[in-house]
Symmetry: C2
Subunit: 189 residues, 2 copies
């Protein structure tokens, strides 16, 4: 069953052709979609962007086998790379909420990292999927920061994503064409 929700868009001038396209992506995780997208970008020679491996602290090994290890908290965001000479950096998260995205999903050191990226001339953003709404947004770090600084709230309302973020339509290939948005609105050099 695919649920298509009709949402009232407060500000959506640039989203007039905002059709819901759904190729039956239920069960596909955002991470999986982004990996497919990045593979597509690589193969088509559009961009060179990878997900970083999950940091793991190894305690004990036995030959080639790791027998005791723990997940560590990442120091940076999950994805980075290169597009047309521009350094790209982003974090991707899913939420089951239909109304807001909890800021607890983004660690403080990740925000600080994105801040540094911006200050050093890179492009930083978050990609957030509202799984139950089947909607995925890109929100540039500058707009994320503006929200955090001007609100004392612990979560970002979906309205803010609709207002300041960019809806990433679901395609067959590339699945989530975030580079299209970076290209148009990322402030490329």
């Amino acid at each position: 069953m695919v649920i298509q929700l009709k949402i009232n868009y407060p500000i959506s001038k640039r989203k007039s052709n905002d059709k819901i396209i759904n190729f039956g992506n239920r069960g596909m995780s955002l991470e999986s979609d982004l990996n497919d997208t990045n593979t597509y970008y690589l193969e088509k020679d559009i961009a060179v962007i990878y997900k970083k491996p999950t940091p793991i602290g190894i305690v004990k090994t036995s030959g080639v086998k790791i027998i005791e290890a723990y997940f560590k908290q990442p120091s940076t965001t999950d994805y980075n790379g290169l597009y047309q000479g521009n350094y790209i950096d982003f974090e991707a998260k899913e939420t089951a909420s239909k109304t807001s995205f909890s800021l607890e999903n983004i660690h403080k050191h990740q925000l600080k990292h994105m801040e540094k990226v911006i200050n050093h001339g890179g492009i930083a953003f978050i990609i957030v999927r509202f799984t139950k709404l089947e909607k995925t947004f890109l929100l540039f770090y500058q707009d994320l920061l503006e929200y955090i600084e001007s609100n004392k709230k612990k979560s970002i309302s979906i309205n803010y994503f609709m207002e300041k973020g960019y809806l990433l339509k679901y395609h067959l290939n590339p699945k989530i064409d975030y580079i299209e948005i970076v290209n148009k609105y990322g402030g490329l050099k």
Copy 2:
């Protein structure tokens, strides 16, 4: 079979206070020196460069503990980041040889990755330490490629590093100031 798990795992509270402080250079690995250097760059707000976590394929977990896992071959180079709006990408290797660096140390897909970085407007290089000579060189990818294309040899003579590479002097802080070389000879935008 290696199963790729999603990242939504509880982060263990283990503190990795296994930082070895060593005031003599002996026994310090290139990786450790580069990590210290990158920390220095971060703290002084010079550059934002990190070592990527080692990719690990997880087979079995027990609670927060990973009880079976294996090292995987990296798809890219070990280090990447951002310096003055420029995307930086490199691989670092040590050799015990006093005369040459075996090209077997750099995987074909890593060379291909560096090629892509160059083509997309980034800066790519290798850093090689001849441990017994206590000499560390930076060799830009373009010069590495020129060597590979014009030689059928399976290793690069130290003479080539001295001729086309840049000797990285050892400092107290930053330990290996490779950004100085990138700044002068990297062809920054």
